[in-house]
Symmetry: C2
Subunit: 194 residues, 2 copies
């Protein structure tokens, strides 16, 4: 049985987005499970249908996929970040993307179908979820702008500024593909900054 204390950070994360009544909170609480994944292990493999919404309770993870034999990092999730493979969850297709723990990581998982079936009983939960997607959408639009119209050097500088600890915690090669460049190119950029 999960101790309520284990979920405090997650539930308060949700409450900040959309206040929830005790019964709605309880309904979400009852769907949560904890999953511990060791460093460099995959929580979800490529090719599985994504049916779970994850939240990083402790640790660090990434979503990545394969492109011409190379791993491409799409997203990093730190403590208190959601991690959702939207392109599978919302389309029902198998995901081409994997979720990997980059440190020993504890995830909170919620089965998506069970969560979605709460929507009819608790419109406030559907509202919560709508707001989460809105935020993710705005974030993605802004990220696209950054990728499309800034140089790799600017993108790196911006990333370092936004998430300084990312550089310490994540191998360079993962950061490079997240920025849309090669590892060699990123190394060159770092050399030119010094």
């Amino acid at each position: 049985m999960i101790q309520p204390a284990e979920l405090v950070s997650f539930l308060s994360f949700l409450q900040k987005i959309q206040p929830l009544t005790p019964s709605a909170l309880e309904a979400i609480y009852s769907l949560c499970s904890l999953i511990a994944v060791r460093k460099n292990q995959n929580l979800q493999e490529i090719g599985m249908r994504c049916k779970t919404i994850y939240f990083v309770k402790e640790g660090l993870a990434r979503i990545f996929y394969l492109k011409g034999g190379n791993e491409v990092t799409e997203y990093f999730a730190f403590e208190n970040d959601l991690i959702i493979r939207a392109e599978s969850l919302f389309t029902g297709k198998p995901s081409l993307k994997a979720i990997q723990a980059l440190e020993d990581t504890v995830f909170i998982g919620i089965p998506a179908d069970q969560l979605f079936s709460l929507f009819d009983t608790f419109p406030q939960i559907e509202r919560l979820f709508r707001k989460i997607i809105e935020q993710a959408y705005v974030h993605t639009v802004n990220r696209m702008e950054t990728i499309q119209f800034h140089s790799a050097e600017e993108r790196y500088a911006q990333l370092v500024e936004e998430k300084p600890n990312l550089i310490q915690r994540i191998p360079l090669k993962y950061i490079a593909s997240y920025l849309g460049i090669t590892q060699v190119s990123l190394s060159r950029i770092r050399a030119s900054i010094r």
Copy 2:
């Protein structure tokens, strides 16, 4: 007074995403207005807060913004496409983006605050809107992947395949910035394809 026939395409567009009861449809219907904009005129200027959700009934439009004095096209909307400046609508900040008609265009507009206030009475409308955002989100994630990991030539080829008539209807310079490259570069790509 708007004739119901004028809104058939829009309402059936919505119904395909989420079936709606007659009273919910009527509620949406009563919020709609028609806006005709001449070619090359702006429906919304840069700097305004975005408080309206638009749908292209006839014609063609784009969202663009300024980057170092140059116009950058973010999105093209054809007949029966929604056009929403999400980054302003969902954050309340003034939009840095303009909406411009690229042909004589008729928009259907819905005031966002009035639409959102229907959510409490009609959870199905909130659901409709959630699904719309989900679709937009998935679309944007896929587009980002395309931009980040395909060459400009591949991106152009893909665009031509997906929307062949886009090439005929839209000036090259707008397409170039949509693809994230310069006009000169796109012209070169076209020459190399022939």
